[in-house]
Symmetry: C2
Subunit: 288 residues, 2 copies
């Protein structure tokens, strides 16, 4: 697998780490970055993450074998719209967004015939940090990447994108886009919302100084994800609205059941819930 010219649209944590990893693996020639902020792009060039950069999309993607769209989900649809006008006949396009159904719909609507060369993808990697400064070549090593091909996705495009992720050490899985969005709503989007909501609630309490001062063990780990990018998570919530509302509804009902068990002092119900959860959580650790 070799990519002669790679265009990264949005040189942040994910885009930057992918560029670094492909360079480290000697798997690509030139890496060109695109973004709205020239100073930010200049910084990425200075860090050696990309070889050159531009704020003109047509110039950046000209002659690229592969274009990786690594912008926040909310910027994806307009970006794909502009991309359609300047995409080469053989260029493959992929994305790294945390929601897949809406991105596939945008790509299908925007890219026309180019949709056969669009591969929707989501690397399950990242930290609460964001920006090119946090990027590193090892980010995807041993992590999973979910690709959600459409019936119209071409075999060669899919093979190129799969090869790219395998080259940087990821395990590639294919999944239906709707299932992806449901699974991620439950395991990633909902936990982020709980952490954000909890931290915001605590910050608004009248004893908030005491609350943050005496925050007990486990609290720091539990709330670390609330330091993630508000823009990114805002975009994810709106893009995965239906799946998210479903899991929120289920979770609120579970929380009501629990509150009822406490209100009734229903010892057995509380103990059973905690025991089941501990068993499931312990099993998860053993899988790692």
């Amino acid at each position: 697998m070799r990519i002669e010219r790679l265009a990264i649209l949005g040189v942040g944590l994910i885009g930057g780490s992918l560029a670094r990893a492909l360079k480290a693996a000697d798997a690509c020639g030139e890496v060109v970055g695109f973004g709205r902020d020239a100073a930010h792009l200049q910084r990425a060039v200075e860090l050696g993450v990309i070889d050159r950069a531009g704020t003109d999309l047509g110039e950046v993607v000209a002659g690229a074998d592969l274009v990786v769209a690594a912008v926040p989900i909310g910027a994806m649809d307009p970006l794909l719209g502009k991309l359609a006008a300047c995409l080469g006949d053989e260029t493959v396009v992929t994305d790294v967004g945390s929601v897949k159904r809406t991105v596939l719909e945008s790509a299908q609507e925007r890219l026309g015939a180019g949709f056969a060369r669009f591969v929707a993808g989501h690397p399950i990697a990242g930290t609460e940090k964001s920006g090119v400064e946090a990027s590193r070549a090892e980010l995807f090593q041993g992590h999973r990447v979910i690709l959600t091909p459409h019936a119209d996705t071409g075999g060669p495009a899919l093979a190129l994108v799969r090869g790219m992720w395998e080259t940087v050490g990821a395990e590639v899985i294919e999944m239906d886009a709707a299932l992806h969005d449901e699974v991620l709503a439950a395991t990633s989007h909902l936990p982020h919302i709980l952490a954000y909501t909890l931290v915001d609630a605590l910050a608004r309490m009248k004893e908030h100084d005491d609350i943050f001062r005496y925050a007990a063990g486990g609290f720091a780990d539990f709330t670390r994800i609330a330091a993630s990018s508000p823009q990114m998570w805002h975009d994810i919530c709106l893009a995965n609205r239906d799946a998210l509302l479903d899991v929120l509804k289920g979770f609120r009902s579970d929380l009501d059941d629990f509150a009822d068990a406490v209100l009734q002092a229903d010892s057995q119900r509380i103990f059973d819930l905690f025991s089941r959860a501990k068993a499931a959580r312990d099993a998860l650790d053993q899988k790692d």
Copy 2:
């Protein structure tokens, strides 16, 4: 500060770590352990955590300068009842429970005149692991211990317990018991309940294999506390019922607001909440 004879009632993670730490600091003579399970106590002796052990409470506490009650909250009231019958006239008693108001009430009711020598305490330390095997001398180093003295608590008893915790490297804070219970309900009990409820909900979903297999970054940290002892957390929930129902009600209402913002696709409201939470969480990191 020196304790000639220390009795630890319940030789688990906290009791065992305290015994180890006081021995490491050469701050105590003999350490005697009490528990219901003779084989477990024998294990603690073999590990060198305690010097000797017994399942007869009167024998264990006879001649002790300080008794540390380190049993689950639910076992505290009956233990204090039995302790009242065999407590020496000068013996100081403290506990390490995560809820303070109910423990103070039990102690006041059970210990009679001995209540003046009872100091309610809560070390803010621990892991999702439990049991004497997980105990270690450094557990309290740099952690906070909250003492919630009552108007009737005697000065010398308070000074002894404060000295003990400072000897093992903890920072000691005094606080009203009711405030303690409110603050801990928000920062510790509620997060544990959210983690338990989330893991249990995911385990019950029809796609649970996919859900646990593709659980994204941050999920492991977020749910680690759901591997904590079900018995311990069951006891805490029932002992801190009122404060817990209050914070659950508030959190439920915040989550309803958030779900409404997503339903309305209220971009600004979602972004503002995430931004406020990130700012509060970032400030917390800077305090550490």
